[in-house]
Amino acid sequence: MNDKNKTTPKKELVPRQPMPEQPAEERQKNFKEVPYGYSPETAMIEARRCIQCKKPRCVAGCPVGIDIPGFIKAIEDGDFPESIRILKESNALPAVCGRVCPQEDQCEILCVLSVKQEPVAIGRLERFAADWEREHGEVKLPKVAPPTGRKVAVVGAGPAGLTVAGDLIVKGHEVTIFEALHKPGGVLVYGIPEFRLPNEIVEFEISNLEKLGVKMVNNVVVGKTFTIKELMEEEGFDSVFLGVGAGLPWFMGIPGENLNGVYSANEYLTRSNLMGGFDFPRHDTPLKKGKRAAIIGGGNVAMDAARTAKRLGAESIVVYRRSRNEMPARIEEIHHAEEEGIEFHFLTAPVRILGNDEGSVVGMECLKMELGEPDDSGRRRPVPVKGSEYVLNVDVVIVSVGTGSNPLLTKSTPGLELNKWDYIVVDEKTGATSIPGVYAGGDIVRGAATVILAMGDGRMASGAMHRYLMGEPEEEPEES
């Protein structure tokens, strides 16, 4: 120990450890996960790069406040069970977050190392610890407190809802999750493809929740099968968490959008991921694979759709109206997509989709753009270049320009306060909605955001729900 502390130079010299991954040539033909993850040896080398700051800035960047230096120290010491224990104190789904969190914008961007070199690979280390636990049999489940006699309904089995369920079950409450689809996981199973997040990992996390006593009920659309009022007044739930996601896909309103072969990214990914459409006809759900697919948009979902189309055998072209610098997708996703041979048409806007007599897509007319003055979002506004129209020969078009609020639940819930975009209004510190005992978080509050932000909301709400259920007062706001 003492020796180690003396040899400070080691921290400066070791470069950020790369994570081995499937070669691009190979992986564009399969749906297997792209990165393989660290070996224990590599993980320990990477962990040693962390200089264990006394006031770690990385933790402040984490929406769920993981003790990052703590779990990394445990990996450095080779105490992997301890590292996963620390992770799970603040994060119910480390195997998921280690894969899909935008660490480069959250924890890693704040790492002091990044001043002079590359930051510690916090995400890769998180993934390593979670995978190590899963692959080494015995998973230590947290202790469950004695029953409180209180019943909680969680609506939506996505990242926010799973977090709430995990938090409240260990506090001794009875927890039931209601999921609208036939399988729990939300966006983790219908949206994010297998090559980025294998279903097996989500299933494993959910089975752990079930082992703790969480009841999973699929095929229930709250707002239709039950109203929130019925859950609380007739089914005996003392508190309800709404984590239903956003999910209503936007289209662009250009001619030809209802032609056969035009999909929302939600539909395309759901058909492929959740329904197994990539494996048609062994799975019954068909999916137009196409010869050339245009994916419209520049976010992570667009990258997922583009890489899925490529794996299904289509030439895959991303059409984005701004430039590469403005793309909201994670750099890693853009990079992976480029490696896999996805074509990018930047500064390009679709004008209309062209069809044949049978109503199928045969092309898409596009317009070149140039960047003008910055708009409200601070990004330079794309302006059409006159006379620059051209036709892209495609037979599949995937529209990935965002999602809006799904009114299905909110419409059926009188008294639930919504904002002007129809998202649920909550108290910033507790996640409490305008209905007593009802809390909300994730995309149905924020609009389309990330898995980890949804989990952060869940974490915050579960604390407040626990206090509500136990009749404890809300903490007084801290003096500032």
Binding site: A180, L181, H182, Y190, N218, N219, V220, V221, K224, T225, F226, G247, L248, P249, F251, G253, E257, N258, L259, N260, G261, Y263, S264, N266, E267, T270, R271, M275, G276, F280, P281, R282, H283, D284, T285, P286, K288, E358, G359, N406, P407, L408
Partner: protein, 276 residues
């Protein structure tokens, strides 16, 4: 798991199925539908709730074998289980007390129009129902419709039963008789609903059609079921399935219904493999 409590054939490829689904039965209203997935590799298909029994906790599905899923369901028996049934989805049909309501059911469409007719009759409206089928053997639920209506008129394409001709012929006669129709509800194949809407538009008679486009989740999440109504894009699963027939872009709907014809044939071929 959802257990089939009753199963019978209404014609050679049309089946009646009662399914144990107490929570759905408690809520189901005329015009609503469920999404059914028969097993782990199955697709999600929308089926209209033809009836529901709150006390027994069952819902009734009436379906025709048109694709792989409905073919497999056709072969299921009482006591068999369906993996997933979710609902009731969609906006319930608008029902109120009116002077005269005409309910038109074409083929398999008689099943979903049945609870609408019954609802209007129970609300105190006079209900004339027009039932159409290709031939006598394919006519379903006549007895139930007689009970649910004030008057029933039947037609078959081949004249083997009732009046020879289409539902539009019967409807046109009714209109020409001067019947003071307040609203027409037409459910059946897309060409039938289109023909009815075309016929009634010049007369200005309000015509409601129930659309059954391709769906996946059935909760507004995917947009597979988008239809153009009055020049606006609607999602049939959350905005419908009932729409103003005079506003529906039927030409587009017809093309969209054919999106996976090739794949459906391919899927059915795997079924033949499996049974061999």
């Amino acid at each position: 798991m959802f257990t089939i409590t009753k199963k019978m054939n209404l014609s050679h490829d049309v089946h009646w199925m009662d399914v144990d689904a107490p929570y759905i039965a408690r809520k189901a209203q005329p015009g609503q539908f469920v999404i059914v997935r028969i097993g782990v590799t199955g697709e999600r298909i929308p089926l209209t709730i033809a009836d529901s029994d709150r006390d027994a906790g069952t819902i009734t599905l009436v379906f025709q074998e048109v694709g792989k899923s409905t073919m497999v369901m056709g072969g299921m028996k009482q006591g068999d289980n369906i993996d997933d049934v979710v609902g009731p989805l969609g906006v319930p049909s608008h029902i109120e007390k009116l002077g005269l309501v005409v309910c038109i059911g074409g083929g398999i469409g008689i099943a979903p129009v049945h609870p609408v007719a019954r609802g209007y009759k129970e609300a105190g409206s006079k209900v004339i129902s027009i039932l159409g089928a290709r031939t006598k053997d394919l006519l379903i639920m006549e007895k139930e419709m007689v009970k649910a209506s004030t008057e029933v008129r039947v037609c078959t394409d081949d004249g083997s039963y009732g009046q020879k001709g289409f539902v539009t012929n019967v409807l046109e006669d009714l209109i020409k008789e001067g019947a003071p129709i307040d609203v027409i509800v037409a459910i059946g194949p897309v060409p039938m609903m289109e023909a009815v809407s075309k016929l009634t538009k010049p007369y200005g008679i309000k015509t409601v059609v129930s659309l059954n486009p391709i769906m996946v989740d059935g909760t507004g999440m995917c947009g597979a079921c988008r239809v153009t109504v009055g020049g606006e894009v609607k999602f049939a699963c959350v905005d419908g399935p009932d729409f103003d027939g005079h506003e529906v872009d039927f030409a587009e709907l017809r093309l969209r219904q054919r999106m996976y014809l090739k794949e459906e044939r391919e899927a059915i071929e795997t079924l033949t493999y499996m049974s061999e």
